[in-house]
Amino acid sequence: MKRLFFLILSFTFISLNLLAQQAVDSEVAMADQMREDGKIWVVVGVIALIFAGIITYLVRLDSKLTKVEKELNIK
């Protein structure tokens, strides 16, 4: 529970930082349009989901190993 709270807190902190961004006009082509549309968030969301999936898998693997290690008395 404490861990979850910590995670949510860090996410909020990161997104606060991002909301303060402003689009700057320039000659160089950048993905400003995408961010105005809000669609870059779709990509960020997809990557975040994949990352969350991989981490969940790692955590499950880790806890399974810990269980087997306890059964076999490996410290």
Binding site: R3, L7, S10, I14, M30, I40, V44, A48, D62, L72
Partner: protein, 234 residues
Amino acid sequence: MKKAWWKVLTVVILAYVIFQGLLGTIPRQPILNETIRNLYFHVTMWFAMITLLLVSMIFAVRYLRSDNVIDDDKSAAFAKVGIMFGILGCLTGSLWANYTWGGFWPNDPKLNSAAVGMLIYFAYLLLRSSFEDEQRRARISAVYNIFAFFIFMPLIFVLPRLTDSLHPGNGGNPGFSSIDLDGRMRMVFYPAVIGWILLGTWISSISYRLKVIQRTQEERVAESAVGHRAEVNG
């Protein structure tokens, strides 16, 4: 979960890197455009690989000094994850090169050196799998690991700097530090390096813990077989 605090740290850092890396402000550069964000993902793969291979080499030295088979397990696990990061570095770099340097594999000395280095480490995997005897495998792999590391480092750090290279900071090219004047990218880049190294360490630890479990189980089976035989004979 064993000693969870640094695993939580890994997740927090990498989440920060993904969000800030994709959405944070970056210097506007022609040709590079938004791909400069690859600095947080492609370049850090190599930093993570080098660190993991260094740790692997240190455990190889430790094995030769201690003869403790767990040091060899750790050395192998770190080398394997390091190689995985190296392959990811090659693939991501290849994709990036296609859109900025105009080809999947421009004949850049750094690319070719990295490829040779990867082959050296593939040979390490082959070497490991070609021994039946555990002690011989551990000892010869440890010696090869030390050699491989000290061949790999000049290959990717020294040689590309002696000739012309497309990579920033090599062959007279300015490094990324000249673009990143206000240090905004550093605020993501350094955490990214630490985050990917921690993730690699986590995967390696899972790998060698599995190896230790397997060995313990085999030993238990062997012990019970000996005990059973003693009972039958006795």
